[in-house]
């Protein structure tokens, strides 16, 4: 903030002071970066230690008696807790949620931004209102509803009800983006014979890729890291997602086998980290759109 202004020259040492200030700022940046990264580094390096070894201290972390990358294959194909199966489940569930939410959110956002119908503002207000409901209120009734539908311990049960919070959020975010697209483009497409669905598909969606990526990114992260619902809605080992599987793995080996548990944790983290690093600017957009303007 301050340093973005031209600094008045306070004297002969202004340049030196500025350089010391810059150095100090970088010192702080690196310090906070270390606090962010060190726990992950510990996790990664521990996962390469001998599988039954004591957990390393900071002193032995970077020089284990021997390196064991095979910990990863061991964990993935572990006989009792099939981590590869958890991973497959997580990908199916997350992919399903992203597709499902993008579809219903963009349809609704189109209705809220492009079509005029009676009661639109009331319905939009109700959508926003659902964002206020805490997950804890929903979980027990959702369990009973999903049980009635026969979806307990199934992909349906994991995909359909799990993201109850992001539908309103996704619709809101997409609507905010859709209203910035010039209506003249719609009219051109209508003259070419497009119906409303055609306008959405051929005009709005191609012009909204950043907003769609934002919604997809949030849906991915929230589903991948969802713990509570995935814990309640499944009860057999082969339907667990990675996040729940990891907690079971952790409990099964509590106090021992640190390297194996950390290898499992790294397996859970790598996909979210990859998605985050690929789509990080869309996260920033989503957070600021919902935050400052909302």
């Amino acid at each position: 903030m301050k340093s973005s202004l031209p600094l008045p020259d306070y004297g002969r040492y202004a340049g030196l002071r500025r350089r010391v200030g810059t150095l100090f700022n970088y010192f702080l940046l690196v310090l906070i970066a270390l606090m962010t990264v060190l726990p992950f580094a510990w996790m990664f390096f521990t996962s390469l230690h001998p599988p039954t070894a004591e957990a390393p201290t900071l002193g032995t972390l970077f020089r284990p008696p021997s390196w064991h990358p095979e910990n990863y294959t061991f964990v993935l194909f572990f006989p009792e807790l099939k981590v590869w199966r958890f991973a497959v489940n997580s990908f199916i569930v997350t992919g399903g949620v992203v597709l499902f939410q993008l579809t219903i959110c963009s349809l609704a956002a189109f209705a809220f931004s492009r079509l005029h119908w009676r009661g639109r503002d009331v319905v939009f207000f109700l959508f926003i209102l659902t964002m206020m409901i805490p997950g804890q209120v929903l979980v027990v009734p959702l369990f009973l509803i999903v049980e009635k539908l026969g979806w307990i311990n199934s992909y349906w049960g994991l995909i359909i009800p799990a993201q109850y919070l992001s539908t309103a959020f996704g619709t809101f975010l997409l609507r905010q983006f859709f209203i910035t697209i010039p209506p003249a483009l719609d009219e051109a497409a209508r003259l070419d014979g497009c119906g409303e669905l055609g306008v959405l598909w051929h005009v709005i969606l191609p012009a909204s890729k950043p907003a769609l990526a934002t919604v997809a990114a949030f849906a991915f992260i929230w589903t991948w890291t969802d713990f509570y619902w995935a814990l309640i809605a499944t009860h057999t080992s082969d339907m667990r997602t990675l996040e729940v599987g990891l907690s079971i793995f952790n409990v099964s080996y509590s106090g021992t086998h640190y390297p194996l548990r950390m290898a499992a944790a790294v397996i859970v983290l790598v996909p979210v980290l990859a998605v985050f690093l690929l789509l990080q600017r869309y996260f920033v957009r989503g957070v600021t759109m919902s935050g400052v303007k909302g």
Binding site: P134, R261, V268, V272, F283, G291
Partner: protein
């Protein structure tokens, strides 16, 4: 023009999301309200109506009141620490330095990570023998003893006992959860503050400079008042999230030691899925809902007040 007529296609387009939200968001709230008026054991066939009995019982239940108290303690510590730390870091990464973009991305990483994995790391940080904190205390003790030896003085008073199992110590276990909450939420809070800082008109700083304001005065009289709505927003969202703390408690402390980290969400989880009392759990979840609504209403009132002041001045 027909675009201002009632376009029935609007209902078709909004229907999937509207039906979805009605079925999996509004209906569950109604069901929860219904459950909360019954003594509803998930494994027993009879579900007698008890009216507001569950709520009356909660008001006198020391364990539930303890859970509310723990939740308030957690939020009371996490919100100020989380807001202030994020604001300071946001100011740092808003400076025109090369590479700040990289650091912003880096600081965001914990927020997208698996809470279970992060909780597992925190168990290590707090662990008695091998943990990071005890390791650092050990290093500090070595340093103190070395210095004492070199100076020929007895510094053993300064030696801190190591081997503390922090997660078994009532105060420390809560402190660990607070530290995790501040650390995990830093990125999103920081990003909102960065956007808020960018929205402050540069002319205000220039005017303040002409008036002879120093660095602190500019922060006090330009940045803070301009950023007040953002601070309020971040404080409220952080509070709401803090009220719903669950996964770290489940993984790290399971409510212990001596119920000092038994927060409301975790209490509800145990009520529903270990005691199977769905009715009581629903009543508890509505108390949590009311707490969240109260915070949101306070936010609205404060925003309106701020708006009026702006208009008046």
């Amino acid at each position: 023009m027909d675009r201002h007529r009632n376009n029935y296609r609007g209902y078709l387009f909004v229907a999937p999301a509207a039906i979805y939200l009605a079925a999996f968001s509004l209906l569950p709230v109604l069901v929860a309200a219904y459950l909360s008026l019954h003594r509803w054991h998930l494994l027993k066939p009879a579900h007698p109506f008890v009216g507001l009995g569950n709520y009356a019982q909660l008001a006198r239940d020391p364990l539930f009141l303890n859970a509310i108290r723990n939740t308030l303690i957690y939020a009371g510590a996490t919100v100020p620490l989380g807001v202030v730390s994020a604001l300071l870091v946001a100011i740092l990464v808003s400076k025109p330095l090369k590479g700040v973009g990289f650091f912003r991305v880096l600081y965001y990483i914990p927020a997208v990570c698996s809470q279970v994995a992060l909780s597992m790391i925190f168990v290590w940080i707090m662990a008695p023998e091998i943990g990071l904190i005890n390791y650092c205390i050990g290093g500090f003790n070595h340093l103190v003893q070395g210095l004492g030896h070199a100076a020929g003085a007895d510094l053993s008073r300064l030696v801190i006992p190591t081997g503390t199992d922090f997660l078994k110590e009532p105060g420390w276990a809560m402190a660990a959860l607070v530290a995790l909450g501040v650390w995990v939420g830093l990125g999103p809070r920081m990003i909102i503050f960065v956007a808020g800082l960018q929205n402050i008109p540069q002319e205000l700083y220039e005017a303040a400079e002409i008036d002879g304001c120093g660095r602190w005065q500019k922060f006090r009289y330009v940045t803070l008042p301009q950023l007040a709505p953002t601070v309020l927003f971040v404080a409220v969202t952080t509070t709401i999230a803090a009220f719903q703390l669950f996964t770290p408690v489940y993984i790290i402390t399971e409510g212990g030691p001596q119920r000092t980290t038994d927060v409301v969400s975790f209490h509800i989880y145990r009520e529903a899925w270990q005691k199977w009392e769905a009715g009581m759990a629903s009543a508890q979840s509505f108390v949590l809902f009311a707490m969240i609504l109260l915070v949101s209403v306070i936010q609205l009132l404060l925003m309106r007040k701020g708006f009026r002041q702006e208009v008046a001045s």
